[in-house]
């Protein structure tokens, strides 16, 4: 069974969202997602300053086998892409909710509330429904 920290919010496409003290948010992929992808060998994160729309593909995680898009859970402006992942993509496997974060966003006004993010309990149900 994969790890689903209670303090985070989630999307049905297996991203997690953490609200930071300054009001920006940190986004990554879940333990379930990194496990399903397998050993990651390349991660492409967005550059600071880029504006992304809700649902836009804004990062790419590639395992040995395949490339997968990561979607913005809501619109906003990118404040940082995780610079460590270029040299150490495997960090997403080993610490998906910590050092393996993908990007930080300054959300557009009202965007988080409108995004329909899932609680840990509801995201766990999504995983169960997928057989994972």
């Amino acid at each position: 069974m994969s790890n689903v920290p209670a303090e985070l919010r989630y999307t049905r496409s297996h991203e997690w969202v953490r609200t930071l003290t300054d009001g920006t948010v940190e986004i990554g992929i879940t333990d379930h997602a990194q496990h399903a992808l397998g050993d990651l060998v390349f991660v492409e994160v967005p550059e600071a300053g880029r504006t992304v729309a809700s649902g836009e593909a804004c990062a790419v995680v590639e395992s040995v086998k395949a490339a997968s898009d990561v979607y913005a859970p809501f619109g906003g402006e990118v404040t940082a892409g995780n610079p460590k992942l270029a040299d150490a993509p495997e960090t997403v496997n080993s610490d998906p909710y910590g050092e393996g974060w993908l990007m930080r966003l300054k959300p557009a006004a009202g965007a988080i509330a409108a995004a329909g993010l899932l609680s840990a309990a509801d995201y766990t149900k999504v995983q169960d429904a997928e057989g994972g």
């Binding site: 397998g38 060998v41 390349f42 590639e62 040995v64 086998k65 490339a67």
Partner: protein, 361 residues
């Protein structure tokens, strides 16, 4: 649910992730695809390749039959047990399949063909065998294990009797022998030394467990794919199929045009292709920028556009490698379109890795 090999329940027990492969439920990885890859390069790993189709061909005229059926010449096989890699072509010189054929006796050859092409291969073989009175028997009663890596032969030999073990270890490259009811061949698809072992289905689970107990790692089809690509070996359906011929698939070396009197299927078309001159070629690519090469990505060259046929991240080289079909006059540097960005790649001659060592200069 797809077809399952005699090892399916064991794969599940060992925690494998199961995927569909050519209609078969096969293990793609157990714990880590990269870990399994390194186990084969550095020590030993075992793969379930029982989904591949073993076909026995018997009859007094089996040699002339295969000399007509295959683009490589089984006339070269004189030592019993010796194997030959060949394409099986259609009349247009398109590749129906690639296969290994073993010479066992003057009346018995054994072919191993791909799982995904099993039905069309058997139909084609039977269609041509009739005129030679050759019997075609699929050996679905056999399981096949590939034990690969620098320690593979020494480990696998411990599964055999004290008399057969040294005999197996003394097999020359690309030669097999019947030992204790198993057919043990010094062949593989990884670029490492090792054996491929055909055995009665009931022997497969105990053999796998015994290999694990000797420290041989369970390896899935994911690692098999990265290993074969590093080793410069083609994958049917990716790197060649019925729409491509051997000369544009890196397989010209497997076509035996001599002796000129041998009339094999596809020969006339191949001679016309050679006479026509310029054609595409299959090359190796090494990505110089960050990213991962994947099949179907477009390649820009000085001589026109090409396409990647197989691409992956190479665990041994820690960079991305690929095969690509390019115009003949394309130079040493090309660019690959990855999600709209043009990244730099260098053209190299495969293999990329052999016996654990990088061959990149």
């Amino acid at each position: 649910m797809g077809r399952q090999t005699p090892l399916f329940a064991l794969h599940r027990e060992l925690g494998a992730r199961i995927v569909d492969f050519g209609g078969w439920d096969m293990p793609v990885q157990y714990s880590s695809q990269i870990g399994e890859h390194h186990a084969v390069r550095r020590a030993a790993g075992v793969f379930d390749v029982s989904h591949m189709c073993v076909v026995d061909l018997r009859g007094p005229r089996v040699r002339p039959f295969l000399q007509q059926l295959l683009a490589n010449d089984v006339g070269r096989l004189r030592i019993p047990g010796k194997a030959l890699y060949s394409c099986m072509l259609n009349e247009r010189a398109g590749v129906i399949d690639d296969l290994i054929v073993y010479f066992l006796t003057e009346e018995w050859f054994r072919a191993v063909v791909n799982a995904g092409t099993r039905d069309k291969d058997l139909a084609w073989i039977r269609q041509h065998a009739a005129a030679f009175g050759v019997g075609v028997t699929e050996r679905a009663d056999l399981a096949m294990l590939a034990v690969q890596g620098p320690e593979a032969r020494a480990k696998a030999a411990q599964l055999l009797s004290s008399a057969d073990g040294p005999t197996a270890q003394a097999l020359p490259a690309f030669v097999g022998a019947e030992l204790g009811g198993w057919f043990v061949a010094r062949t593989g698809y990884t670029g490492e030394d090792g054996f491929e072992i055909m055995m009665p289905a009931a022997d497969a689970v105990p053999a796998w467990r015994a290999l694990n107990a000797l420290g041989v790692a369970s390896c899935g089809l994911g690692a098999r794919d990265t290993l074969r690509l590093e080793a410069g070996m083609n994958l049917y359906g990716n790197d060649m199929d019925e729409s491509t011929h051997p000369y544009e698939s890196g397989l010209g070396w497997t076509v035996a045009l001599e002796p000129r009197v041998r009339q094999f299927v596809g020969r006339t078309a191949l001679e016309a292709i050679l006479a026509a001159g310029s054609r595409d070629k299959l090359v190796g690519l090494v990505l110089e920028d960050r990213g991962v090469l994947r099949s179907h990505q477009k390649v820009s060259t000085a001589a026109g556009e090409g396409e990647i046929t197989s691409g992956t991240f190479s665990p041994t080289l820690e960079r991305s490698i690929a095969f690509a079909r390019l115009p003949e006059a394309s130079g040493a540097q090309v660019q690959v379109d990855i999600r709209g960005k043009l990244l730099n790649a260098r053209v190299v001659k495969p293999p990329f890795v052999r016996f654990g060592k990088s061959l990149l200069t």
